[in-house]
Structures are given as C-alpha cells and as structure tokens.
C-alpha cells in the first residue's frame, strides 16, 4: 500500500466518522430550525432552559444505559429504580410525619446518599445476576423492574412521600448562575461519562467487553467485573435521576418513572449506539435525548393535539434515524 492510499483511507475514515458523529446531530438541528420558524417561543432563552431541564432526567438515565448497552446488555429496571430511590431518599427528607421515617427530615446530603445507595444496590443485584449467573439482561432487569416497583409500594405503603425539605429540593429546583440544578447535574454526569468512555481504561474495557467479550477476556480483562460495574453505574444514575425527579416535583411518587426505560433506551439507540454492543458514544446519547425532548417540547409549544402528537412523534424519530442512516450509507 502506498502513502497515497493511506491518505485516501484516512479521508474515508474521517468522512465515516463525521457521518457517524454528526448524522443525527444534523437531524436535531433540522428539527430545531423547523421549530424556530414554526413557533416564536421555541428559540427563547427561557424555552431553551426548559428543554434542557426536560432533557436532564432522561439524559441521566440514558447515559447509564449507554454503558450497559455498550456491553451488549440492557437495563429495563431504571424506571422502577427511579421510584424506589426517590421514595427511600425522600422519606429521609420529608417534614411529613406519616410518610417519613423516624427522625426525618435528616440533612439533605444524607437523604441523597441513601437514594444513591439504593440505586447502586439495585444495579449491583442486576449486575450479579447478569454477569455471575448468566441470566439474559432482559430477563434479569425485567425482574428488577417488577421487584423494585413492588418494593417501592411496600416501602411507602402505596402513598407518595410529600413535603420535602428545601435542602433536598435544591437539586431539583435550585440553580447555579441561572442554570437549573438538574441541568448542572446532567452536564456533570455527561462530562464524566464522556471522559470515562473516551479516555479511561475502564472505558476501553467497556467497549471491548461489548465489542468482543472473548477477545477482552483473552486480553486479560475481567469481563464479568466490567459487566457488574455498568449495571452499578446505571443503577446509581437511576437513583440520582429518581431523586432529582422527586426534588423537582416536590414529592416522591410510587408511580414515578413508569416506562422511563423506553425513552432512555431510545435516546441511546437514536444516538447511534448499537444494541449489539461495542459501538457508540455518549455524545450520541446526549443528542438522542435532546432530540426526544425537543420533539416533545415543540409539539407541546405548537399545541398539537395529543393524538396527532403521538403519531408525529413516532414518525419524526424514525425519520431522524432514517436520515442518519442514509448519511451513513452515502459516506
């Protein structure tokens, strides 16, 4: 092979990379442009803040889901873990005498720690069942979806946990320099995940464990441990998302988070991460989550009737990915 073909190759690789990275971004931009013309409020500072805030919870879940899907797994339990972590942590931060546990409200940090622990624990159980006992991730996390919901109802006695302390609510309603806390947290999670997946050794192990588990193992990587870790990450982030949700709405509902797994997985897949593992980026997930939020927001802004909304939303998301795919092919 000559130097010339080498260059050609590099150019080809770059074009492919561009399409892979930016194909769905173009779809997002396109939708945004259309919405800007269609509705005067869409491109206002306030609405942008809204959209970002509305992306945060699904975005955080989707980032955890990205780790899981990269290893060929799936985590259906995030929605239930959202509820469980929300209820448990809220019970430590409520001023209600009936819904709280003895001594509540505790300091917000303690409550948040408890929620995080709940999420991590749920993820750990998922991870052990998947990695050690080789139960397909779909079944293992579907079991957790059911079990965690049941535990939520049991823990809370079927009732919401209301009246959360201001300290606790800060993560949902506070802001830093005008940027809402959920967005701040989401951004932090995103950048950490971006760094981990693209720069750290653990990130390489995640890609390898998903791309070719056999090769990873032969290269000395403890694939089971990597798998366990990704479920722990997903569970922990679900716990975090659950607390932000409770803090935003002001009470932790036992019905919170139902079907959130679908949106989270959708964001990941729209963002170009393959369900068969090993391929994908957290930037894609961000764009996928934004796309979902923008479509929801835009349709609401324009006051599109709910039934049409569902039809349009379904069509739009498929169309966006089709656009992305067309670009892939062309390149």
């Amino acid at each position: 092979m000559t130097a010339q073909t080498d260059k050609q190759r590099d150019a080809r690789a770059m074009a492919t990379e561009f399409a892979q990275k930016y194909g769905i971004l173009l779809a997002l931009v396109l939708v945004c442009v259309i919405l800007t013309f269609a509705n005067e409020y869409f491109l206002t500072g306030r609405n942008i803040i809204n959209v970002l805030r509305q992306t945060a919870i699904n975005g955080i879940l989707a980032i955890g889901m990205t780790f899981v899907i990269l290893t060929r797994g799936i985590d259906l339990s995030v929605g239930s873990v959202v509820a469980l972590a929300g209820v448990v942590s809220a019970s430590l931060a409520t001023t209600s005498t009936t819904a709280g546990i003895a001594g509540a409200p505790y300091p917000a940090l303690l409550a948040l720690l408890a929620g995080l622990i709940v999420g991590v624990a749920a993820g750990w159980v998922n991870g052990i069942i998947v990695s050690r006992y080789r139960v397909p991730a779909f079944v293992a996390t579907l079991g957790m979806l059911s079990a965690a919901r049941g535990l939520t109802l049991l823990y809370a006695g079927g009732k919401p946990v209301p009246a959360l302390t201001d300290g606790y609510r800060y993560i949902g309603t506070g802001d830093i320099l005008g940027v809402p806390m959920p967005v701040v947290i989401f951004a932090a999670v995103f950048f950490v995940a971006l760094w981990v997946l693209s720069q750290s050794r653990f990130g390489r192990q995640v890609y390898a464990a998903g791309g070719n588990p056999h090769a990873a193992r032969v290269s000395g990587i403890n694939v089971n441990r990597v798998k366990l870790m990704v479920y722990v990450i997903s569970g922990g982030l679900a716990g975090l998302a659950g607390m932000i949700l409770a803090a935003r709405t002001g009470s932790a509902l036992t019905q919170a988070g139902i079907a959130y797994e679908l949106d989270a997985i959708a964001a990941v897949v729209i963002g170009g991460t393959s369900l068969s593992g090993g391929v994908g980026k957290v930037t894609g997930t961000l764009i996928g989550a934004l796309l979902i939020a923008v479509v929801n927001n835009g349709l609401d802004l324009m006051g599109v009737e709910s039934y049409y909304q569902q039809v349009i939303k379904g069509g739009l998301i498929v169309a966006a990915v089709m656009l992305d795919q067309a670009r892939h092919k062309q390149s």
Partner: protein, 493 residues
C-alpha cells in the same frame, strides 16, 4: 538440563459427549520453535486454549518452568509470560489497531487516563518493525482478514512473553507477510523465547521449527526433532496412514470457454480485469494480500455493484445483482472469511450444508428432512467432516472441519463454475488432498474451478493457468508450462 519453559502431561477435555483431548503431552524448550501437528480436530486448539487458561481442563498437569500452574483465566497465563495468537481471529471491530494491540494494558496516566499518543506511537513502531503495512489508527472493522491476522500477531508479540503460542498464524496470510512473521520468530528464538507453532502448511514447519509433537484424535502420538523426520513420515504420523502424493490433478482443460470477463471494474479500485476460464480447467488467481482477488470474485457473484465491464457465462451475457442470481446461474462461492460470510455458527452442520439448496431440498415450503439428512451425510462423507452428528452446532467443530462444511455446502449446489477463495485455509494435509481430489474430479467432469490461493505450492500443484493480480490490476497470466515460484512472486510484487 534446565527446566522446560512449558511441560504438559495427560491433558484431558470433553465437550458434552465429545472427547476433544484425551492425552495432551508437550514439552517446550527455551530458544526453540516447537511445531504442534495434527489433523483437523486432533485437539491442538483445545490443548492450546487450555494452556492459555481460556478453557478449563478436565484433567492433566501443566508445568511452567518446572512449577505446576493452574490458570483460571487468560490473564493468569499472561501474567506467567504466555501469550497466544488464537486460530479464530477475534478482533474488537470498532476499536483501532493500537487499541486492540494494547487492550487491557493501555499506557495510562492520571486517573487511568489513557495516553493515546504513546499507545499509537508504540503500536506503529511495533507494526513497522514487523514490516506490517498497517496504520495503527485504522479501525479493525476496516481491515481485511489478512490484516486482522497481522494485528493479532503484533499483539501477541507485544506482550514480550516468554512463551508464544501461534495457532495457525499464517492461514490467512500470503507468503510475503508470512516471511515477516518468520523473521520475527527467528529474532524471538534468538532471544531465548519458546514458540509453539501450529500450521497445516508443512513446508513452513520444516522451514522454521526445531522440534515437533503430533496429536491424533486428541492424543499424543509422538514427538522429536524436525531434523530427524521426513515430510512423508510426519504426514504419516498426522494422518495415521501413508500418503503417497499431496496433490492430485487428473483434469484436462478443454478449449471451451465457460466464463469470459472483460474490462471488469469493481469497488472503485480494481480495474480492467479480463480473463477467461474454460471447461475442465482449474484457474488460479494469485497475488499478494490486498491485490484485489476477493473483490473480483465478489463482483462475479453479485455481491458488489457493477462499475463497468462485461461478464459472460456459457456465451450468455450475465450481470448478477445478488448471490441468489449467481447461484441460479450455476456459480458457487466459498468465501475466504468463514466466520464472517461463510458459516451460521449457531446453526448445526446439516443446516449449514443445506443452506444454499433450500429450494431443491423442499417441496413447496416443506423441507424434506430426509433429503436434508442425506445431503448432509453425503457431504460429511465426501469431505470427511469430523463431527459426532450432523445436528451439532458448527461452532463446536474444529477450524478445519468448519472449512469443510462450507465446501460441502457449495458442492451440494452442483455448480458449473466454482469460485474458491482460499479453499484449503486451515485444512489438514489429509483433507487438503481430498479437496484437491474433489476439485480435480469436478474439473475432470466438465466443471470450471477458479481458485484464489496464497500458497505457491498449491498454485503450482493444482492450477492449469494462473492470473496474477497486483494492486487491483492483472499483471500477467501464466500457463501451466510457464509456472514457477519465481515467476509468480515476480509478477505479484
């Protein structure tokens, strides 16, 4: 005498009911290349993967430098200074070459941040040193099978291990690349390392190995120094009976042109390919890796778009738009990448053999299971496929036997023109001979065989004419009379 680098005794392994290994025995001395020989399914790969800790053993003892060891996972073996090139290529497709090479031990700095610059630099240096023309930054999924093989070699060498296991490292390589590997092996040997070398290309073994061990049917048969053994006696040990000649060629080409290709272009860079193949002929395509041979075949078989040129089959202009049309037109194509485009690994032997004949083996929609079973049985016998039953998953077959399954599938289609892309890749001497016999019979019965091969011996032994490709163009066409190793290599490079 100092302790051997590796000493293995009585290694046993079963899969379900299949005894893969009943008595694996092996001794590796420092500074030597030790060939592990045996037919397809003899248990070589099983033996080596157990040594590497990839699989559990059922019994037996492994000693490393005289000390008994028990590797539970590959990382234990790596830690003990053993590395492996596995028979089945196992890339992480979405990662770069450098990332694959340093997988699990990336140079890292603060907080485990990977030092990509250093990694790429080291990887490129390694590749350059081996004279492998691959960019460390390219993605594995963009590489050809041969290039993947080179990366695996580079990776195994990069561990700086004392024992390096090479399970058929050259099966996907051309001779130029193989030479680079042999040079590297010489350097390792000089540095006192031990190499376990598996190959079905006996000439390689006689060229680089110092000693040999032979397995047959999962058991140790014998060992010794290469200097003390002849090719014939080694073959006899492997096959279990004497084998008079390695190549069988009884076809006589006719003048009747079956396939005529003119000015064919494909994949953007393969240009102006013109040749004709005749009834009763074995036509070989020779060239270095990446010379575009596979691209030509893919075009003929309707797997890539028409970019100019004409093809005529039995005097009829054809332009197949899909493999289905090509099959219906009387073509068969044994692809070079049996894992990627050949086998349905999760399917059983029978399903794989019958895959291209579903219509013929069914009545309406109903498959005729008797016909399927008979067809599978016929091919298992014809190629001597070693399998407990035709209902076993092909993933459980040894590499060479998997190759035979693919061959069986395409012979079953009763093709008029056979396209074979490295048909004997990974096939043992005994079976190779069978394949040559089948090729020869096929041609003798009026078929046309077009074969890609990177093994000069094979081309010299089997071809009636040879088309040599270089950089996507034909650099020459040779008659059998003009054939010699030198002219081939000269035209190809």
């Amino acid at each position: 005498m100092a302790d051997a680098l590796l000493e293995v005794n009585g290694l046993r392994k079963q899969f379900g009911g299949v005894v893969a290994l009943s008595n694996g025995r092996f001794v590796l001395q420092p500074g030597s290349v030790h060939a592990l020989c045996g037919g397809n399914g003899a248990g070589k790969s099983t033996f080596l993967t157990i040594v590497m800790g990839i699989q559990d053993r059922d019994g037996g003892v492994i000693r490393r430098n005289g000390k008994e060891v028990h590797f539970e996972k590959p990382s234990d073996a790596l830690d003990a200074g053993i590395s492996i090139i596995e028979q089945e290529l196992s890339p992480v497709p979405a990662m770069s070459v450098a990332e694959n090479i340093y997988l699990g031990r990336e140079p890292a700095g603060f907080l485990g941040r990977i030092d990509f610059a250093t990694m790429n630099k080291n990887a490129q240096a390694l590749l350059d040193e081996l004279h492998f023309d691959i960019s460390a930054k390219s993605l594995m999924m963009d590489l050809t099978v041969a290039e993947l093989q080179l990366v695996e070699i580079a990776k195994a060498l990069s561990y700086d291990a004392e024992v390096i296991i090479m399970d058929e490292p050259t099966s996907a390589l051309g001779e130029a690349e193989a030479d680079q590997l042999f040079a590297a092996i010489e350097r390792l040997k000089a540095a006192g390392k031990g190499i376990i070398y598996v190959s079905h290309r006996l000439s390689e073994i006689f060229r680089i190995a110092d000693s040999y061990t032979v397995f047959r049917d999962g058991a140790f048969v014998g060992d010794g120094a290469i200097a003390d053994v002849t090719r014939e006696s080694l073959i006899q040990m492997i096959v279990g009976r004497p084998l008079t000649e390695e190549f069988i060629k009884e076809n006589t080409p006719t003048e009747e042109v079956t396939l005529k290709v003119q000015d064919l272009n494909t994949r953007g860079w393969v240009r102006d390919i013109s040749f004709e193949a005749r009834r009763g002929e074995i036509l070989a395509f020779y060239g270095l890796m990446g010379s575009g041979r596979s691209e030509v075949f893919e075009r003929l078989f309707g797997m890539s778009p028409n970019e100019g040129g004409t093809i005529s089959l039995f005097g009829q202009a054809v332009d197949f738009a899909s493999p289905k049309q090509a099959i219906d037109g009387g073509l068969a194509f044994v692809t070079e990448d049996r894992k990627g485009t050949g086998l349905v690994l999760s399917g059983d032997v029978r399903a794989n053999i019958c895959l291209a004949q579903l219509e013929q083996l069914s009545r309406g929609q109903a498959m005729q299971s008797r016909l399927e079973a008979d067809a599978a049985q016929k091919m298992i016998e014809m190629f001597g496929i070693k399998t407990a039953s035709d209902r076993l998953e092909v993933s459980g077959l040894s590499g060479g036997n998997q190759q035979k399954v693919v061959l069986g599938r395409w012979f079953l289609t009763n093709p008029k023109v056979l396209l074979l892309d490295e048909p004997t890749r990974g096939v043992d001497v005994g079976a190779k001979r069978e394949i040559y016999r089948i090729m020869s019979d096929f041609a003798a019965a009026g078929g046309t065989v077009i074969m890609i091969s990177s093994e000069t011996d094979e081309v010299l032994g089997m071809a009636d004419r040879v088309v040599v490709l270089r950089d996507g163009r034909i650099s020459g066409t040779l008659d059998r009379a003009q054939l010699s190793a030198e002219t081939l290599v000269h035209l190809a490079a």
